[in-house]
C-alpha cells in the first residue's frame, strides 16, 4: 500500500499549536524531601574571607559569639523578612554595648535560606544586614565602622531541608575584624 504523505513542512505556528495541544503542563516531578540531615555543626564562622570567628554556641539557633564574650554574633529573621524581632534587638543591644567598649571595624553579613530565588535572596541578605547596621547607627555606633555584605543563600550554616535549618540560615552575623587584619 502506498502511504500518502500528509501536509507540508510543519510551520512554526502549526508546531506551536500542535505542541500546545500536547499540553502536559505542570507534570509534577517528584523529588522526595530528604530525611532531616541534622544540624551541620554549630555554624561557626560567618564566611567572610579572613574575618571569620570560631563558632561557639550562642543561643538556641547556634552560631558564634563576639570575641571573648558570650554575646551572640548573630540575629535571626522570619521568612522573607528583614525586620528586627524583639529578640534580635536584645542581641544587638548586647553587641552595641560591646562595640562601644571595643575598637575596630565590623562587617555585617546578611544571609537568606534556600527557599527563595538566588537574585532575590542577595538583596534579602543585604536588607537584613542593612537593618542591623541601621539599628546600630541609630544607637550611636559610627556608620564608618560598619560594612555590610550579602551572601544571599550561598553560605548556609545548616544544610537540612527543614525549617529548623532554614531558620538558622536566615541570619545577620556581626563579624569583628581580627586585630591587625
Amino acid at each position: 500500500m502506498k502511504e500518502k504523505m500528509r501536509g507540508g513542512i510543519l510551520s512554526g505556528g502549526l508546531l506551536a499549536a500542535a505542541l500546545a495541544l500536547a499540553g502536559c503542563a505542570g507534570e509534577p516531578i517528584s523529588v522526595p524531601t530528604s530525611p532531616d540531615a541534622g544540624y551541620n555543626g554549630l555554624g561557626g564562622a560567618g564566611g567572610a574571607g579572613g574575618l571569620g570567628l570560631d563558632g561557639v554556641s550562642g543561643g538556641a539557633l547556634g552560631g558564634g559569639t563576639l570575641p571573648g564574650t558570650s554575646i551572640s554574633d548573630r540575629v535571626f529573621f522570619t521568612v522573607d523578612q528583614s525586620t528586627l524581632s524583639a529578640e534580635a534587638i536584645g542581641t544587638l543591644n548586647q553587641q552595641i554595648g560591646w562595640l562601644t567598649q571595643n575598637q575596630g571595624q565590623i562587617t555585617i553579613e546578611g544571609h537568606a535560606d534556600e527557599r527563595g530565588t538566588r537574585d532575590y535572596n542577595f538583596q534579602l541578605g543585604s536588607a537584613r544586614a542593612s537593618a542591623v547596621r541601621n539599628y546600630m547607627v541609630s544607637q550611636g555606633i559610627p556608620d564608618s565602622r560598619i560594612s555590610i555584605i550579602t551572601f544571599g543563600r550561598e553560605r548556609p550554616v545548616a544544610t537540612c531541608a527543614e525549617e529548623s535549618c532554614f531558620a538558622r540560615n536566615r541570619r545577620a552575623v556581626t563579624v569583628v575584624a581580627r586585630p591587625g587584619a
Binding site: 513542512i9 502549526l14 523529588v31 532575590y120 536588607a127 541601621n134 544544610t159
Partner: protein, 442 residues
C-alpha cells in the same frame, strides 16, 4: 576558545556552503503526528555517514552519532537503529533505494559523507522524505577543523531540525553555567562554558572567588557574572576565555543579576541600596550607569526584550515578588503576573512572544512561561528548587537548574520544552547551576 573556533571554523557563512540542488523541492514532505495530546516522535534513519577519505571513517561515525543524539534529544524524533536497517549507504551520490527505508518505517532519511584533509574535516548531507521519495531541501556541505567535529554534527542536525519542524535550530550553541564542588555550606563555584549538550565543558574561573549567575552574550563571546573577588558581590565582565576581566560598574558597592541586551551593547542589572535594590542600565563597553527604578522594594532580575525596547524584571513592590515590564529607558512599570505565589527571574524569549520565569507556590519551585502581557501562564516543571530559566536560540526549549534538597543535595541543569514535554538532565561532571544559553553560533 570560542573565538578561536570562530576564526578557523568556516561553517554557515554562505560562501562556505556548497548548495547541491535536488531535482525539485519536495511537494508533500513530513510532519510530526500528534495523537491524543502526545507527540509521536517521527521515525528517522541516519546510517553512518560515508567516509570520503580513508582516514575519515572514525570521524564519520562520531559525527553521525552527534546528529542522531541531537535529533532524538528533542523528543520529536525517534531513531531507527542501524541494526534494523535493510539498506546500506556506501556511496553518498548513488540513488537512494527508498523501499529499503520505507520497509523499516523510516519517514525521514539522513545520508551524509565525511572527508578529512589534513586537520580539516568536511561533511556533506542530504535529508530525504522516504515516502515521497524526494529530497527535503538541498544538500549542504560544512567544513571546519577536524577537532570541531561535534560542531559539524550540530550544524547538520540544526538544518535537519529546521526542515522538519519549520523552527530554527538550537544545537550549535553554547551554555555558560556555574560548576559546583565541595560541601553545601562552603560550595566552591566556577564559571564554566559547555556545548548545549554538555560536551566540551571548560572552566573559565579558578574557583578562588565565589561566583554566580553567568550570562553569556548571544554570540557566546563575553560573560557577565557576579563575583566576590573583591569582597562584596560585584558584576564582572570577561571574554569567554576569561581574558579582559573587569568590574562592570565601579560605583556600585554591591551589584548583581546582570543581563546583556540581545546586541550585546547594553547591560541591565540591579544594585543593592540598603534595604532595597534598584535597576540600572549601562553600556557594555562605555557609558555611565543610568538608574531605571527608585524604590524601597527589591527590584531585581531584569532582562531585555529581544528588540531592546523593553525590560522585564521582578519586584516585591506590591508585597511579594511579581513580574513587571517597563520601557528600557525607564518609565512606569506594568505588572503582568497576578497568579498565586511569587514570580521571579523573568527572561524574554528570543522570539519576543513569551516570558519564562521561576514561580514559588505551595512550597515548590516551578519553571513556567506566559505571554508578554501575562496571559496564558503555564507551569512546566515542579520540584524542591527549579530555578533560573534560559531560552534556547529558537525560543522552543528552556534550560534551568533543579536542586535536590539536604546536606548531600545539589543542582543539576535540565532542559524542557515550552510545552512541558521532554524534561532532560544536561550531563555535567558535577553539580551545575545558573545556565545561560547563547544564540546559534555563526
Amino acid at each position: 576558545m570560542v573565538n578561536r573556533l570562530r576564526r578557523t571554523l568556516i561553517l554557515a557563512a554562505p560562501a562556505a556552503l556548497a548548495l547541491r540542488p535536488f531535482a525539485s523541492v519536495a511537494q508533500s514532505p513530513l510532519r510530526i503526528e500528534i495523537t491524543q495530546g502526545v507527540v509521536q516522535p517521527m521515525p528517522f534513519a541516519a546510517p553512518v555517514f560515508v567516509a570520503d577519505t580513508p582516514m575519515a571513517a572514525d570521524l564519520a561515525q562520531r559525527i553521525t552519532q552527534v546528529v542522531i543524539d541531537d535529533l532524538t534529544g528533542t523528543g520529536l524524533f525517534r531513531e531507527i537503529p542501524s541494526s534494523a536497517h535493510i539498506g546500506r549507504i556506501t556511496n553518498f551520490d548513488a540513488p537512494v533505494q527508498f523501499s529499503d527505508w520505507k520497509a523499516i518505517g523510516a519517514q525521514a532519511l539522513v545520508t551524509g559523507a565525511v572527508g578529512v584533509t589534513g586537520d580539516r574535516a568536511r561533511v556533506r548531507f542530504r535529508l530525504w522524505d522516504v515516502f515521497a521519495q524526494t529530497g527535503l531541501g538541498e544538500g549542504l556541505r560544512f567544513q571546519g577543523p577536524a577537532s570541531s567535529w561535534r560542531r559539524l554534527g550540530h550544524k547538520v542536525a540544526d538544518q535537519i531540525y529546521m526542515r522538519l519542524t519549520g523552527e530554527g535550530g538550537y544545537f550549535d550553541s553554547k551554555v555558560a553555567y556555574v560548576a559546583e564542588s565541595g560541601p553545601k555550606a562552603s560550595r566552591q563555584k566556577r564559571i564554566a562554558v559547555m556545548d548545549y549538550d554538555g560536551a566540551n565543558a571548560v572552566a573559565v574561573t579558578d574557583g578562588s572567588a565565589l561566583v554566580v549567575t553567568p550570562r553569556l552574550s548571544i554570540k557566546a563571546r563575553r560573560i557577565l557574572y557576579t563575583s566576590y573577588e573583591q569582597g562584596a558581590p560585584k558584576i564582572f565582565i570577561m571574554n569567554v576565555d576569561g581574558g579582559g576581566r573587569r568590574v562592570l560598574d565601579k560605583t556600585a558597592a554591591m551589584s548583581f543579576a546582570p543581563h546583556f541586551s540581545a546586541d550585546g551593547s547594553r547591560v541591565v542589572y540591579s544594585v543593592s541600596e540598603g534595604t532595597g535594590s534598584d535597576l540600572y542600565v549601562t553600556g557594555t563597553d562605555s557609558g555611565a550607569p543610568a538608574r531605571l527604578t527608585r524604590t524601597a522594594s527589591i527590584d531585581t532580575a531584569p532582562s531585555f526584550s529581544p528588540d531592546g525596547s523593553r525590560i522585564c524584571f521582578e519586584s516585591d513592590r506590591s508585597g511579594n515578588q511579581q513580574i513587571y515590564v517597563m520601557p528600557a529607558g525607564g518609565g512606569e512599570p506594568k505588572r503582568i503576573s497576578f497568579g498565586e505565589g511569587r514570580y521571579a527571574t523573568p527572561v524574554w524569549s528570543p522570539r519576543g512572544d513569551m516570558i519564562a520565569f521561576t514561580k514559588i507556590v505551595g512550597g515548590r519551585f516551578h519553571i513556567g512561561v506566559m505571554r508578554v502581557d501575562g496571559s496564558g501562564e503555564q507551569l512546566l516543571t515542579a520540584s524542591y528548587i527549579d530555578e533560573g530559566p534560559t531560552w534556547a536560540p529558537n525560543g522552543r526549549v528552556l534550560m534551568f537548574f533543579r536542586e535536590s534538597p539536604g546536606e548531600s543535595g545539589g543542582p543539576r541543569i535540565h532542559s524542557v520544552d515550552i510545552t512541558g514535554r521532554n524534561l532532560r538532565e544536561v550531563p555535567t561532571a558535577g553539580f551545575a547551576s545558573d545556565p545561560s544559553w547563547s544564540g546559534l553560533l555563526e
